[in-house]
């Protein structure tokens, strides 16, 4: 479990306004509530599949806030709902994906939910085989060098996925050419049923950066400000032409791997309950209250607004049209 000291960081010292941190909190809440709604819809038999961000919102929102939404790029993974919301996607976009509807901006209903991709916001379309996107991020960074742009690319994956060969090749390539890439590993302790100890030799993903000659940082993923801080530093390094950074953000997956999983077969309820104490939503709420930026009442208002958004999105998406059968044959080639 993450044991970082939360109170060492203050948002104003990080250059974040009160408004911004409240906005961060709102995005975290929105991500959580969209996600929870999807589970309800799934259990009601309305959508076939959910894969969750729950437990990792602090990482995703903290990281996305540290980037420049007007020019930076994302190559995210399937849990990064919080990240794509900050970059511009809406509850409606995501509900359209969940219901596999024609207007899903990610894939027109072709991919499962969680397979983000949105040209409007420089979010490269992703697939299911894990870790392929990490190399795409390096390519986008290299294109930036060729085109003399100063964008930064953030790409993320799980700690299990970081063992894939592509991850090594990507880190090495980016290291050799000093490319503006942030390799984020969202370490939620499990890859489906396989725990960290059976997945990552040595147990320390961030230590792997040393082997590529660039910094590796471990950060408490339950603290969005801590994540914000390290991603900000990494983005600045990258933009200065100093190359990649590896960030391992520690978290915990609070729900089963996906709607097809039963996590009781491989972890105890006690362990999950214990992890809930480090839920970034709870921790960040406490922080905002301590700072006097949030009250229970204000929180309820925020929640109501968010729920309204989620309700509206659900309703809209449920009614929205499916693709036409003939759409099957489109977009194979130009």
């Amino acid at each position: 479990m993450s044991e970082f000291d939360f109170n060492e960081l203050d948002h104003t010292e990080l250059g974040l306004t009160d408004g911004q941190v409240l906005e961060m909190y709102r995005y975290m809440l929105l991500a959580r509530k969209i996600d929870e709604r999807m589970w309800l819809l799934n259990r009601a038999g309305k959508i076939p599949f959910v894969i969750s961000c729950q437990g990792q919102e602090g990482i995703q929102v903290g990281a996305a806030f540290a980037l420049d939404k007007s020019k930076d790029w994302l190559c995210p993974y399937y849990r990064d709902l919080g990240m794509v919301l900050v970059f511009g996607q809406t509850a409606r976009d995501n509900m359209l994906a969940a219901f596999a509807k024609k207007d899903d901006p990610n894939s027109g209903g072709r991919q499962m939910p969680g397979h983000y991709g949105d040209r409007r916001y420089r979010i490269l379309s992703g697939s299911s085989p894990v870790t392929t996107q990490v190399l795409h991020a390096v390519g986008i960074a290299y294109a930036g060098i060729l085109e003399k742009k100063d964008h930064v690319v953030l790409t993320s994956c799980g700690e299990g996925s970081s063992n894939q060969g592509d991850w090594h090749e990507a880190c090495n390539f980016a290291g050799v050419h000093n490319l503006p890439v942030i390799f984020m590993v969202e370490n939620n302790k499990y890859a489906i049923s396989v725990p960290l100890t059976k997945q990552v030799a040595g147990g320390d993903v961030s230590a792997r950066a040393q082997g590529y000659g660039f910094p590796g940082v471990k950060v408490d993923g339950s603290n969005p400000l801590a994540v914000y801080k390290v991603v900000k530093e990494a983005a600045e390094r990258a933009r200065r032409g100093e190359g990649p950074t590896l960030i391992e953000a520690i978290s915990y997956r609070l729900v089963p791997h996906s709607s097809d999983d039963d996590d009781r077969t491989y972890r105890t309820r006690e362990e999950v309950e214990a992890a809930r104490k480090y839920d970034s939503l709870i921790i960040f709420k406490r922080y905002l209250m301590e700072k006097g930026l949030l009250t229970e009442e204000k929180d309820q208002d925020l929640l109501a607004m968010v729920m309204h958004e989620v309700d509206e999105a659900t309703e809209y998406a449920e009614k929205a049209p499916y693709p036409d059968p003939e759409d099957l044959y489109k977009h194979v080639y130009a």
């Binding site: 596999a100 027109g108 072709r110 697939s127 299990g160 996925s161 060969g165 097809d260 059968p325």
Partner: protein, 327 residues
């Protein structure tokens, strides 16, 4: 004889082979404590321990590469690839290594490895949890490819694959897992790899298929029987080595052939079967050879109308058979 499902036949074959031969071990993602994401290895971790039912890191090339090393050493690894779609990172190890180890060493080494992978669609799996991948491997000498359609065949063929001295890709249609049930003997038996089986006798049109679409074909055949069209159905069961004799015999029965699979049409295995027929059974043919396959789009989408449009079905098959019958 107990009635068991297709996936239970997988589990049973694994269990019996592990009991029979201490060299057999399983490796893959979530195969241990979790018993596999489809539960194909359920109970094996408890029975055989974590060393013989090994949860590996999330690395397909390693799963296959490590299994190759162990197989060359003399073990009998059964590697699980969680979804056939995710076999791609292991293609180099399969094609360059497993398939060529015996040949390149002039027979000094071999690679008795089984790679199991659930494939196929119609399960809301979307682009990357629905693919048929046999075409990628079906032209790689050194590999065998087994794709059973029934629980009985699953048990007998998986056992044969584990006992085989060469690498076998064993593809299991995930839609069949719980859908298809039948009586399966409790005793030990194997089915020879490389032998097709006539699953229904007929005189008007020959259908050649395997996997889920084989069942669709049988269903279509049943309906068409009522219309007076008699359909002969051959289940390939093994793609490589292809049972050419059985294919030619089946063609000779009717002179009209429809080859069906869920994999894309172009470059799919139906092309190979058609080519064999066009070369070796040409004079048996009374009509052009027809293929009914997945369309040439990258994969099956998530959205229900698109998935339906992609999937072969008893209706689409019946229509194609009718056309051939009328030819």
């Amino acid at each position: 004889m107990p009635v068991i499902s297709y996936i239970d036949a997988v589990t049973l074959a694994l269990k019996e082979e592990m009991e029979r031969d201490a060299r057999v071990f399983i490796l893959g993602e979530d195969v241990g404590v979790r018993g596999g994401v489809f539960r194909a290895t359920a109970g094996l971790y408890e029975q055989f321990g974590e060393k013989r039912v090994l949860d590996t890191p999330l690395t397909e090339s390693a799963i296959v590469g490590v299994a190759i090393g162990a197989a060359a050493y003399g073990m009998r690894p059964v590697a699980e690839i969680q979804f056939a779609d995710f076999i791609m990172p292991a293609v180099n190890q399969i094609v360059s290594e497993a398939a060529k180890l015996r040949y390149r060493s002039n027979g000094a080494w071999n690679c008795p490895l089984v790679i199991r992978a659930p494939y196929g669609g119609g399960v809301h799996g979307a682009l990357y949890h629905s693919q048929s991948v046999e075409k990628i491997f079906a032209g790689v000498p050194g590999l065998k490819i087994v794709m059973p359609s029934t629980p009985y065949d699953v048990k007998g063929l998986l056992k044969a694959a584990i006992r085989d001295e060469d690498p076998v890709l064993f593809f299991e249609h995930k839609r069949c897992y719980r859908l298809i049930k039948e009586e399966v003997p409790e005793e030990d038996y194997t089915i020879p790899i490389g032998k097709a089986e006539v699953k229904r006798e007929g005189t008007d049109v020959t259908v050649i298929s395997y996997g889920l679409t084989l069942h669709f074909a049988l269903k279509a055949a049943e309906e068409l029987a009522e219309e007076g069209i008699s359909v002969h159905v051959l289940d390939l069961r093994t793609l490589i080595p292809l049972d050419k004799e059985a294919v030619i015999e089946a063609v000779a029965k009717t002179g009209k052939v429809l080859i069906i699979h869920e994999d894309n049409l172009t470059g799919g295995f139906a092309g190979e079967v058609a080519a064999v027929i066009a070369e070796e059974a040409f004079f048996e043919l009374d009509a052009p050879i027809r293929r009914l396959c997945g369309p040439d789009v990258p994969a099956m989408p998530y959205s229900p109308p698109l998935e339906k449009e992609f999937m072969p079905s008893p209706e689409k098959i019946a229509k194609a058979i009718r056309e051939l019958a009328e030819f």
